[in-house]
């Protein structure tokens, strides 16, 4: 199709040959800089306060840095040392169990509750939503649960006694300590709002169509609500995985990692190293964790298709 006829009887070559003036100067030209004006402030902050400290921390992992004094390069010594540390292996084990448990126990409920909340008449739903999502300060919940878990006078023990169960040792029980740490999260209904927002976007015609086909309550959830939520679930799951692998503050305050090392997560462990003035080693642990998070995320995202239509 090289010899295509162009209206006016000219050939392609003839058109290419015609002279062209450049546009008048007063007209504004495409500006490649303009969009950078939007990006640059954020990029600078992200570079300086996001990536730069990270790179610096990464660099420290190849040194014997200890707070003060000269820092010298020691290559992979920190890596071999930390690799051979049984406590780190234990911390990773705890972290994985903690992450798995918290995802199993706290991830599904908000989705389900969000789906069910959407059933309420709009006015009721708005009120219920408001009450579900009332935020509690993290600092406040620390103090509250610390009190509730007291094996002597705490409310949880009272409930256990009321139910006629054997007395629990709560945070003292190495087998259940992770469960009790996660337990308050079950009540918190974390990201349900996000699911509700996503559910709102599902056209009701989908449900009507399913109804015509005779789909019941659960079937509608299974075939419409959940697939439509997939991209959001996928993202929240990614964050849940990343977040729970980085768990630190809550177990640190609640159980201090005990009893034994039953609730000491990796980040707690690296924080302890840092307190013990082993900066280099602690960043090495961070690199391990970072690598594992990367691997898990990549694997998971490879196998999980986000788009329900794809």
């Amino acid at each position: 199709m090289a010899e295509r006829t162009i209206p006016g009887g000219q050939t392609e070559e003839a058109i290419q040959a015609a002279p062209v003036e450049s546009a008048p100067l007063r007209l504004s030209r495409r500006s490649r800089i303009e969009k950078w004006m939007f990006i640059i402030p954020a990029a600078l902050f992200q570079l300086v306060w996001g990536w730069f400290p990270l790179v610096f921390a990464f660099a420290l992992s190849f040194t014997d840095a200890r707070v003060r004094g000269p820092i010298s390069f020691i290559g992979l010594q920190s890596y071999t040392r930390m690799w051979g540390d049984p406590l780190l292996g234990e911390a990773f084990r705890v972290t994985f169990i903690y992450a798995a448990m918290s995802i199993v126990l706290t991830f599904v409920i908000p989705i389900l509750v969000a789906v069910l909340l959407m059933e309420m008449p709009p006015r009721v739903m708005r009120w219920m939503m408001l009450l579900w999502f009332l935020p509690l300060s993290g600092i406040a919940s620390t103090i509250l649960w610390k009190y509730m878990y007291n094996p002597e006078y705490g409310l949880m023990q009272g409930i256990v006694r009321l139910l006629g169960l054997p007395e629990q040792r709560f945070l003292n029980d190495p087998n259940l300590v992770l469960f009790w740490l996660i337990f308050p999260g079950i009540l918190l209904f974390g990201p349900g709002l996000i699911y509700m927002a996503a559910l709102q976007g599902i056209p009701s015609s989908y449900y009507e169509a399913a109804e015509v086909e005779g789909a019941g309550f659960w079937r509608k959830i299974w075939t419409i609500s959940l697939p439509r939520l997939r991209p959001v679930i996928s993202m929240m799951l990614t964050f849940a995985i990343i977040g729970s692998l980085q768990e630190f503050y809550w177990p640190q305050i609640m159980s201090g990692g005990g009893p034994g090392s039953a609730s000491r997560t990796v980040v707690m462990y690296l924080y302890n190293l840092w307190g013990n003035l082993r900066f280099g080693d602690s960043t090495t642990v961070a690199i391990f964790l970072f690598a594992i998070i990367m691997v898990i995320t990549v694997i998971y995202r490879t196998f999980y298709k986000e788009d329900p239509d794809a």
Partner: protein, 542 residues
């Protein structure tokens, strides 16, 4: 109307943007300059986070709390003698290891810091931190203020070995504490149990704990580190550690002695079978004291300081004595750490010191410690106490430090003495324990280690497991695991001390130990120390 609005909104936004653009750098510069020069108002500024000295109280504060008048007067006297010095209060949690390490790393540590919190709550950690430059050398000030001469022999032996590092000193002693078991003397009398002797043993203690256990009362309130304490009260700290100069890291852990397992098993029996121990991973001193004064426990391991709180405080022991209506010494008794059943003992007294942040210049360091010396060991102390007495007329409030490191139990301007407030028996008991000899400290003999080594986490985990896990736990396995973990961690470290120097140091150290124990407790020496020394240490040192 539309247009009008739009213009003004546009203008508003522009103005707002321009203002914030202008304000941002200006404020930050102002803010930063405000923080920096504030520190150089006078020639010397001593930065404190409220411990051990607070800045000069305001007139209003003195008005509100007369007891402060004494402190203010004492501090003012010192300030008059040292013109140009001011105190500045900052908010740094010097008791939180990570917080203080962060502050030191950024050069923002206050002048006064607490050495063991920097070192992860162990003396070895603190010494290592000192060697790494996290604290300033206070040696010159110690010499200048003639500190060594002011300390009682007991306090000196409790402080010097730990704080002297080479030619330098890590901290400046200010007070002392003691680990003790408090018991309800009135309860013992009531139950017809005989009071334990001053040199009681662990068997005595366990028997007493069991005897005190009854419906609604547990025999013993124990902190998290109780399991560890039992072992170290039997010599674990010395006997579980073996030199191994041939390795990269010069020490190994060896917990193979069945003795340790026996002790732990016995303690766990007390906790989980006899239910005689009041303990929880989350309990604090508050829980213990509360339980003790409410009669829920009969025997409590705490710091002796906790017992000398003011009677004005609802759950203090003094208040309890008042409630019962008997003199303090008839209600509260205490004993130091029991001897091991093989005769091992340790001196329960420790001396708390204040260290100085590493970015402090010599002049400030000198003034900062001068103030501490004056306020705690000099005339300032008496002035404070006199002021306190004048305000409260309460001897118990005045004599709230039971173990003065300078041995002074009376203060100028205070009519009465320690024994008037707390009883003669209390004082005698304290003096007995303060007089116990202190075993040679490794620190005085071994070359200084520059590198970090494995920390104590593996063993802390073991103690916590032994203390709190109710289910089937095999102390032997737990101990073995801690030992193996520690040893495999140690394999990753290397020492800065060369082998020859290490062996030399270790030889002198163990010889000193040998001599000490032969003399201080022949029973322990013969039954435990000597066989161990011959079989484990001597072969390792070649």
């Amino acid at each position: 109307m539309n247009k009008q609005n739009l213009m003004s909104r546009r203008q508003f936004l522009k103005t707002a943007l321009a203002t914030s653009a202008a304000v941002l750098p200006v404020t930050s510069v102002l803010a930063s300059s405000a923080s920096a020069p504030a520190r150089v108002q006078s020639e010397i500024t001593i930065i404190t986070s409220g411990w051990p000295l607070t800045p000069m109280p305001t007139a209003e504060e003195i008005e509100a709390d007369k007891a402060r008048a004494g402190y203010a007067e004492a501090l003012q006297t010192w300030l008059d003698e040292n013109p140009g010095v001011t105190f500045q209060q900052v908010e740094v949690n010097i008791w939180d290891q990570q917080a203080i390490v962060t502050a030191i790393s950024g050069g923002t540590a206050p002048t006064y810091v607490f050495p063991t919190s920097i070192g992860g709550w162990t003396n070895a950690g603190a010494r290592n931190a000192f060697v790494q430059g996290l604290m300033a050398d206070v040696g010159p000030a110690i010499e200048k203020y003639g500190l060594i001469g002011k300390l009682t022999p007991g306090a000196l032996s409790g402080w010097q070995p730990i704080n002297e590092i080479g030619d330098a000193y890590m901290s400046f002693p200010i007070d002392s504490g003691m680990d003790v078991f408090h018991y309800r003397r009135d309860l013992l009398n009531e139950l017809g149990i005989e009071e334990p002797p001053l040199d009681w043993t662990w068997d005595d203690l366990i028997a007493l704990a069991k005897a005190l256990t009854a419906e609604g009362r547990q025999g013993l309130a124990a902190p998290t580190w109780m399991a560890e304490a039992i072992l170290s009260d039997h010599g674990f700290d010395i006997l579980s550690q073996v030199p191994s100069p041939q390795n990269g890291w010069n020490w190994m852990r060896d917990t193979s002695d069945p003795k340790w397992v026996e002790l732990l098993t016995e303690y766990r029996k007390l906790v989980f079978e006899d239910k005689a121990v009041y303990s929880d991973v989350s309990y604090t001193t508050d829980n213990f004291t509360n339980a003790f004064v409410n009669g829920a426990v009969g025997l409590m391991r705490t710091n002796v300081l906790g017992a000398f709180g003011s009677a004005a405080q609802e759950n203090s022991m003094a208040a309890m004595a008042n409630r019962i209506g008997k003199p303090y010494e008839e209600v509260i008794g205490f004993r130091g750490i029991p001897r091991g059943d093989n005769g091992y003992f340790s001196n329960p007294i420790y001396v708390g010191g204040v260290a100085i942040g590493p970015d402090t210049n010599d002049e400030t360091l000198d003034k900062a410690l001068g103030a501490v010396d004056y306020m705690f060991l000099g005339a300032g102390w008496d002035l404070q106490k006199a002021g306190q007495y004048a305000a409260t007329q309460d001897l118990q409030a005045v004599f709230n430090y039971p173990i003065p490191i300078d041995g002074k139990y009376t203060y100028e301007g205070v009519p009465g003495a320690f024994e008037d407030a707390w009883g003669q028996r209390t004082k005698d008991d304290i003096l007995y324990y303060a007089g116990l000899p202190k075993a040679p400290d490794e620190a005085l003999y071994m070359p200084v280690e520059q590198n970090p080594g494995p920390d104590n986490q593996a063993f802390e985990d073991a103690w916590s497991t032994i203390n709190y896990v109710a289910d089937e736990v095999d102390p032997a396995a737990v101990l073995k695991q801690a030992q193996d973990t520690w040893n495999s961690q140690a394999a990753g470290f290397s020492s800065s001390v060369d082998d020859a120097a290490f062996i030399d140091g270790a030889k002198t150290y163990y010889e000193a130990l040998d001599a000490f124990w032969k003399d201080a407790s022949p029973e322990f020496y013969e039954s435990t120390f000597k066989p161990w020394y011959d079989s484990k240490v001597l072969p390792a040192l070649g």
